[in-house]
Subunit: 119 residues, 2 copies
DNA sequence: CCCGTACTACGATGCTTATCGTACGACTCG
DNA sequence: CGAGTCGTACGATAAGCATCGTAGTACGGG
């Protein structure tokens, strides 16, 4: 087996394993407007995005905080790539644990954004 | 401008109208284990239930608080019937605003309860 | 080796919330 | 009327959380 050492950065981040993800935690993570917006952008793109890609109405420290909440609740996966920290939705894990939930949530968020002004 | 109506003998309760219900509020309401449990029982029964029907691991004041959060977020509808206060899921409103969401949430909660010990 | 970029860690702050107990109001039934 | 049941209101408390600024660490490129 190709013991491909995947560039073991000294900076790695604690993620919950699939079985540790709790629905309450996911809902709490998504109940914040800033975090919901992040997740919507990640889902729209379909690819991992760096933190700095997002233009959020909060400071950089607060942005870090929100990304940590999303990671610790199991909604996103984070890993470093050079100086950039890449963020990706944990679609596989969430779809396995809670089939259909993520799509319903994203659809609901989209409908609400359409009704009101993208908020 | 609101000519403060005295509201003399009324025991009626403020509910958000359908259009005021916000996804973030609903998710926040359901991110508490006690409230999620209440909603699951309401959905399982399919009918309105009195507050006292629930055997929750919190005090009576706290129970009142949780029911109020659910009502103000638009998840349940409450009305008095004699001394009892009846609680019913706002299925029609939620399904109209966020089609499929409530069912996905309930299914997700059910699966999680199965995996772990009914928690 | 130094500098700029990307992000974090820490401490502070003010707001929200989950919790409780106690005292009270509304209703029903004797 | 009086007692019991059901639920509320209020005040207190402790914890949580969203927010910020500042100072610092890791990495990549000149």
């Amino acid at each position: 087996m190709t013991t491909a050492v995947p560039v073991p950065s000294s900076r790695d981040l604690p993620h919950p394993v699939r079985g540790e993800i709790r629905l309450e935690g996911v809902l709490h993570a998504l109940s914040d407007p800033v975090r919901l917006r992040i997740v919507r952008e990640l889902a729209a793109g379909g690819v991992a995005l760096s933190c700095s890609h997002f233009d959020l109405p909060v400071s950089k420290s607060t942005t870090t905080h929100h990304f940590r909440v999303l990671r610790e609740s199991g909604v996103i996966r984070q890993n470093y790539e050079g100086t950039a920290k890449m963020n990706g939705l944990r679609r596989d894990d969430l779809d396995d644990l809670f089939p259909g939930l993520l799509d319903s949530l994203l659809t609901a968020a989209g409908r609400q954004a359409d009704r009101h002004g993208g908020t």
